[in-house]
């Protein structure tokens, strides 16, 4: 776990300390510290309870609260085996296919918008043309449109193609039962924010560098490949983490475009179904829930530094 969150960039950090301290000092009291500790504990307990329950035998879960594990530790791993493989949830194959679907959806749905948005951001920042400001503006505005607005028409498009009058503009692809609609939907919905955030980074690359490359006769393609991509690696990484978490954790898009079958539906869809219908078997439901959060948690704790930096670059200005 680590000191990563606090070591955000900058020297102004240390310079600002004395006076900022003055404000903090007025908040500083043992009571304040106690408050933070209490909140931290409150914020952690639910997850600990989930983990503890998922490791307990069925009979124990039915008989006593999870906190009794601290007094009488009796932990097993078989709940995980059951939910993954044995179909303890009334499905042959258990949660395993759904977990694979989550992964098979998340990786491409992270990469596609990342690459396309980086390209668009570069063009908007460094290949200035008439209307590029307006275009950037429109993309920015699309960021805040709730995606519920697009669901019905997009689903109709995926299942039936697009027609105007009697003419077919986009033919009907038979995409149902594949990942393609989910990838496409995630890519489309991620583009505005991705383009906006990456534009912030890419437009701040040193002008001299870009001009020197142009003078050397490099094409935009070469500049993008050999200058922009390497220099923007940190920004790309932070957005990739963000997008991966977003896609892995998504329910609405998956529910709409993947349906509920083990062919393509991710874990979130299955777990949401089970949470409604699975009153008695908490030891299994908690194991399933923990399986669904373990990969995001690993990504989060492993790459926290980049994730936080990306967030801050996007939202703290001046």
């Amino acid at each position: 776990m680590s000191s990563q969150i606090s070591d955000q960039p900058s020297a102004s950090d240390t310079a600002a300390l004395p006076a900022v301290k003055a404000v903090r000092k007025s908040f500083s009291s043992p009571l304040g510290s106690l408050f933070v500790i209490v909140v931290t504990v409150l914020w952690t307990i639910p997850t600990v309870g989930l983990l503890a329950t998922s490791l307990r035998p069925k009979e124990d879960v039915a008989d006593s609260g999870w906190w009794t594990v601290f007094a009488h530790p009796n932990l097993i791993l078989s709940n995980y085996h059951t939910v993954l493989f044995d179909g303890g949830f009334g499905v042959s194959g258990g949660l395993m296919p759904y977990m694979v679907n989550s992964l098979a959806i998340s990786v491409p749905a992270t990469l596609f918008p990342l690459v396309l948005a980086a390209m668009a951001a570069y063009a908007l920042a460094w290949v200035r043309f008439r209307g590029s400001d307006t275009l950037f503006f429109l993309i920015f505005a699309l960021q805040v449109v709730p995606l519920q607005m697009a669901l019905i028409p997009l689903l109709q498009l995926f299942s039936g193609g697009a027609h105007l009058g009697g003419m077919t503009i986009i033919p009907q692809f038979n995409l149902s039962g594949t990942y393609a609609p989910v990838w496409l939907a995630h890519t489309m919905f991620a583009l505005p924010l991705a383009t906006f955030l990456l534009h912030n980074f890419i437009s701040q690359l040193p002008r001299d560098l870009m001009e020197a490359a142009v003078v050397d006769g490099a094409s935009h393609f070469k500049i993008f490949r050999s200058i922009v991509l390497p220099l923007c690696a940190p920004a790309l990484a932070s957005f990739a983490i963000f997008q991966f978490l977003w896609v892995w954790n998504d329910l609405l898009v998956a529910l709409t475009f993947a349906g509920g079958t083990p062919d393509v539906a991710p874990m979130t869809v299955r777990l949401a179904q089970l949470a409604g219908s699975f009153g008695g078997r908490w030891e299994l439901l908690t194991a399933g829930a923990f399986l669904s959060i373990i990969i995001p948690l690993l990504v989060f704790f492993g790459l926290q530094r980049y994730f936080v930096r990306g967030l801050l670059a996007g939202s703290v200005k001046g």
């Binding site: 004395p18 607005m149 697009a150 094409s219 949401a272 959060i293």
Partner: protein, 335 residues
């Protein structure tokens, strides 16, 4: 021959490999096409270079945005004035249904409560924590732990909290942490919190606050650190201190960030969909607009009504859109 669980697991691994193979195949295809285009187009410089670059770089993104967002947006508005197979014009009938139907009133009220209370609570708590945590030892640990729920899906978070609120034992006795706490405090027969309790909407919002407070705290803490030394120092020499210093110096200095955080948290709050669907399925008076819209459109196939609800949801966040645009305008002109 009896099928053992080991064999089942074997075939599951096989299927998994095939699925992942498809997924990585798609990635390889995507990158391959890009490479070919870059290789072919990279030769063109000079007069042809610019238009070609604009087309290649912006083309895919603009096309996807048009097909995936802009056209659907317009089409949803169109659909909201038509009947369910969109063969007939209905005027504002779908809207008048949405605004007069008794059950929808509860839905609208819930949505409004979500959009106001959850973001304010998460941002406010985040601000208080940001002020307190930075002068503590082990602050990185506290920050990490409070920030952690952000990585958890709202479905996962809902199951975690359903477990806190609504656990039963084999005799249907409540054994959740909250019930145990209530019993410990002397409340002998605590209610089924999220199933019937009048405060159940707020109990659902707790999940959203739990997820988002860490984000607000981390961003606001960075903004507070970025306040120039001289500003606070000058105010202090003028005799300001304590809460006054906070209210008249700190808050105005981080106002922009505060609004950005509030906006971001509010956009995420639109995903209350996940929480409501997982915890109550929209029953017990907890339905929100996004879920009603989903169920009208995709469960009952009332496409017209579903579209009208989507438009209403859009109108509800329109002030946010407007504010963001004004803000960006300002930034662009000052740059």
């Amino acid at each position: 021959m009896p099928v053992t669980s080991v064999q089942l697991a074997d075939s599951a691994w096989n299927d998994a490999l095939i699925k992942l193979g498809n997924s990585f195949g798609a990635i390889a295809g995507f990158l391959g096409i890009l490479l070919v285009i870059f290789f072919a187009a990279g030769r063109a410089t000079g007069r042809l270079g610019r238009p070609l670059a604009i087309t290649v770089f912006l083309g895919p993104a603009v096309l996807l945005l048009l097909v995936g967002l802009v056209v659907p947006l317009v089409r949803t508005i169109y659909l909201s004035f038509r009947n369910d197979d969109s063969s007939r014009f209905l005027g504002v009938k779908n809207y008048s249904w949405a605004l007069t139907d008794q059950s929808i009133h509860q839905v609208l009220l819930n949505t409004l409560l979500w959009l106001i209370i959850a973001p304010l609570a998460a941002t406010g708590l985040g601000l208080v924590l940001a002020l307190l945590v930075d002068r503590m030892r082990w602050q990185a640990l506290y920050k990490s732990l409070i920030f952690m729920p952000m990585a958890i899906s709202l479905v996962g978070a809902s199951i975690i909290w359903k477990f806190v609120y609504d656990t039963r034992d084999s005799t249907q006795r409540q054994t959740g942490l909250l019930s145990q706490l209530a019993i410990w405090l002397g409340w002998h027969n605590p209610p089924n919190w999220i199933l019937s309790h009048p405060l159940n909407n707020f109990l659902l919002m707790v999940v959203m606050v739990w997820v988002q407070t860490g984000f607000a705290m981390v961003v606001l803490s960075a903004a507070i650190k970025a306040i120039p030394d001289e500003v606070t120092e000058a105010a202090r020499l003028d005799g300001a201190s304590g809460l006054r210093l906070f209210w008249y110096v700190t808050v105005p200095m981080i106002r922009t960030t505060l609004v950005v955080v509030l906006t971001t948290v509010m956009i995420v709050t639109l995903k209350a969909f996940d929480i409501v669907r997982t915890m109550t399925g929209g029953n017990f008076g907890t339905q929100v607009l996004a879920n009603e819209m989903y169920s009208q459109s995709f469960v009952q196939f009332n496409v017209g009504r579903g579209s009208a609800l989507a438009v209403i949801l859009f109108l509800a966040v329109l002030p946010l859109v407007g504010y963001n645009i004004v803000q960006l305008r300002k930034e662009r002109t000052t740059r």
